[in-house]
């Protein structure tokens, strides 16, 4: 059953139409990736799912419930969590306070439990527990943003370019973690610039181009599609 379903969703910024009628479905337990070049509308779509933006047309359903136009806080309480583009940490709060806020909708003991898991995944964050988030390095902030989204233990986790700014060794770690939490029952929607990596992690993928979905298929099919190879993977074959 589809846990998330977007039907003919249109999103615009004033008169700039960023997303022009997309249909998208994610089934429970899947990892789905959304790929596309700069400005295709990936972030716009993610922000709309979490209610930060309101679509001017179309319908968004989560677990069969219509959540179109609902407030972000309500949507989050229903079980969707986003690690946003550009990290958006709380700059003058410590690392641990940031993480605790990630679990705002949960109880204290639940928070403490998940906190341990996040720290195990990113030992650097444990080291910097009491550092103000605004003074963390770029990559450290990215770890914090991912960790904070995990703190909510959402049913659907949205990750907008989680690998951005992370060292290769950490990227590997994050991908592993994504697979792991997915196994534990979290559905994941992943936006990635690194299409190869995303498709290797995901079960299914959508290709977004200038606000429209142009391809939707299983990940390995996309990975071998000529169009994708040429436009997104091309070039790098040599190494």
């Amino acid at each position: 059953m589809a846990i998330l379903k977007l039907t003919d969703v249109h999103i615009s910024y004033g008169n700039i139409k960023a997303v022009k009628g997309i249909n998208l479905e994610i089934n429970k337990g899947e990892i789905v990736t959304l790929i596309g070049s700069n400005g295709a509308g990936k972030t716009t779509t993610m922000n709309t799912i979490t209610g930060l933006l309101k679509p001017f047309k179309g319908k968004i359903e989560f677990k069969g419930r219509d959540i179109t136009g609902k407030n972000t806080s309500e949507i989050v309480k229903l079980g969707i969590s986003l690690a946003p583009e550009g990290r958006q940490v709380f700059p003058r709060m410590t690392v641990i306070e940031n993480l605790e806020l990630g679990g705002y909708t949960r109880t204290k003991s639940q928070i403490i439990e998940t906190l341990g898991e996040v720290f195990d995944l990113f030992p650097r964050l444990r080291e910097r527990k009491y550092q103000e988030a605004g003074t963390l390095s770029g990559g450290e902030q990215q770890m914090l943003a991912i960790g904070r989204a995990m703190m909510a233990r959402p049913e659907l986790l949205l990750l907008d370019e989680p690998s951005m700014g992370l060292a290769p060794i950490i990227v590997e770690l994050v991908l592993k973690a994504i697979k792991k939490i997915n196994k534990l029952g979290t559905t994941i929607l992943l936006v990635e610039q690194n299409a190869r990596m995303a498709l290797m992690t995901a079960d299914r993928g959508y290709l977004l181009e200038t606000g429209k979905i142009v391809m939707a298929a299983n990940a390995d099919i996309l990975l071998h599609s000529d169009k994708i190879i040429k436009a997104y993977l091309g070039e790098n074959k040599e190494d």
Binding site: L166, I169, Y232, N236
Partner: protein
Amino acid sequence: MHKLQIQGLTKRFGGLTAVNNIDLHMDDNEIIGLIGPNGAGKTTLFNMITGMYIPTSGKLFYQGQDITGIKPYKITDIGIARTFQNIRLFLMMTVLENVLIGLHTRTNTNLFDAITKNKRYRNEEKTSHKRAIEILEMVGLKERKDEYSKNLSYGEQRKLEIARAMASNPGILLLDEPAAGMNDNETAELTRFIKTLKNFGLTVLLIEHDMRLVMNICERIYVFDHGSKIAEGSPKEIQKNQQVIEAYLGKGA
């Protein structure tokens, strides 16, 4: 005499040593890579070079001139330009205006010229405008020149930042993760672009986590970990360096 020379540079934040006794140098027309795990101190080094942080100890020389502790705006004037890891565009200004600001240090009409709009002023206006358009063309943003920069997508904003930094016609260009937020194709395009910069005679210091980009274009690479330099050498050497693999590259690379 090196174009840029760094001697024993250190930066502490309270008890944390973010950059620890670093020596580093760059020569004319080199493209140098700077890599290392998250929080290794790479951005902090940039901040010291550009005068945004005052080093705890150590010295910086640009073309033999001591530039330690000089104000950021003077550093730019001297010839070092940068981009930011967290994009910092002038969001409420158009793409073109952003680049015009980049030209600030390379223009010199004074208030009197501006108020009277004299010939000198009008000539300079024309040349700056032309130059700005040229630069935008190079990064492929010419079509969007009148768009507010906040309306660009993440990737486009990155390109604009590079364009803006290039506008000051720097002796050294410091790029902090320029490929972050770009897909493989765009990264490839960026790779070509940075290579052309070299042909224009620019010297580039590049922080990047995208190894394909780094290995492709850098002549030499410095590797930091926990604020210290752990390796230095050609891409080939670095890729094989066991310490670097363990701390940074991981087995996937």
